[in-house]
């Protein structure tokens, strides 16, 4: 058994990949990492709102008709609508009025999830892909131990969750500044230091974490209604609460 690792700068962050492979499969898994990295760059180029001319920005500007966009754009548009409904309006791609609509809070997790799926499909026995703090993990045997970062101390871990097949996404204001907006007020989200969502799919977990962070303390009631997704919340006073989730501290 060997470990294969790769780190790549893409989507404005660093995506790191780790796979456990039989030595005889190592070459094929290395090749699948090339495929996964190419996929992440393809998504970045298609959906970026930070470089002019992406297909997403041209669609938003009305320069490309809905019927003519890539199937991935149609998929993201449809999923964004569903996520708005699933989060009772808290997940929005147009919450920041100073910027073009940005689907990144779903697209990044969705892309990293598929990158992990590519490595699993190539025959790795364990896969862990981390996209700037959002994790897609799978193991044939045992579980990955995923640390949840302390929002008040970047060098510390606040809790640990075991994941054998699933995703862990965290939203907080402590890395990029107040980049999550409360759609009800139009201002920066307040009340929580970080929200971590754990569940089967990283795109959904990423969007749910962003939505819960936007809702602030009101997110607790909504998170309790979720089926298949649990959460770990740290509020601005430093108190933590797990909702539908087993964590070790």
């Amino acid at each position: 058994m060997r470990e294969v690792r790769r780190a790549e700068d893409v989507m404005g962050t660093t995506v790191s990949m780790l796979a456990h492979v039989e030595t005889s499969d190592a070459e094929r898994i290395e090749g699948s990492m090339d495929d996964a990295i190419a996929w992440l760059h393809e998504v970045d180029d298609r959906f970026t709102t930070y470089r002019p001319g992406s297909e997403w920005l041209r669609y938003c500007a009305g320069q490309v008709a809905a019927a003519d966009v890539h199937p991935d754009v149609r998929h993201v548009l449809a999923r964004v609508v569903e996520l708005g409904s699933e989060t009772r309006g808290a997940f929005r791609i147009d919450a920041d009025p100073s910027r073009p609509p940005d689907p990144a809070a779903f697209v990044k997790g969705w892309a990293v999830q598929r990158a992990a799926d590519i490595l699993v499909g190539a025959g790795a026995s364990a896969v862990c892909v981390n996209g700037g703090g959002d994790v897609a993990a799978w193991r044939l045997h045992g579980a990955w131990r995923v640390g949840i970062q302390d929002p008040f101390d970047r060098s510390a871990v606040r809790a640990v969750v075991d994941v054998d097949c699933g995703a862990v996404a965290t939203s907080g204001a402590y890395e990029r500044g107040g980049h999550v907006f409360d759609p009800r007020t139009g201002g920066p989200a307040e009340g929580l230091a970080s929200v971590t969502v754990v569940g089967p799919d990283l795109g959904t977990a990423d969007a749910y974490a962003t939505a819960a962070f936007a809702l602030g303390p009101d997110a607790r009631a909504w998170l309790r209604t979720l089926d298949g997704y649990g959460a770990y919340i740290v509020d601005e006073q430093g108190s933590a609460e797990a909702i539908g989730l087993a964590v070790a501290c």
Binding site: L18, G147, T170, S194
Partner: protein, 91 residues
């Protein structure tokens, strides 16, 4: 024992993990680029950070870290970077 070599934007980074009495006692950089500005960043800022964090994370036996999204520029000083560069220890 030597840790793995990980290709990063700063070039390949390899660390040596020193085990004493079954516990990690130290983490030293074996190999990192030392010419570009980026390499200065990783050698002067990130490596001391990595040292502390690898020791801490290994004692917690954690495989990866979920946190609010960091930028590419912040990666070298992130916990995930600590795990990627020194987190694999085969005893």
């Amino acid at each position: 024992m030597d840790g793995p070599v990980v290709d990063t934007r700063y070039g390949p980074v390899q660390v040596e993990v020193v085990v004493a009495g079954g516990r990690i006692s130290d983490v030293k950089a074996l190999e990192y680029p030392n010419e570009a500005r980026r390499s200065q960043l990783i050698s002067e800022q990130a490596l001391p950070l990595l040292h502390d964090e690898v020791v801490q994370l290994q004692s917690a036996n954690i495989d990866t870290i979920s946190g609010a999204t960091y930028t590419s520029d912040a990666y070298a000083q992130s916990l995930q970077s600590a795990l990627d560069s020194g987190g694999v220890v085969s005893q």
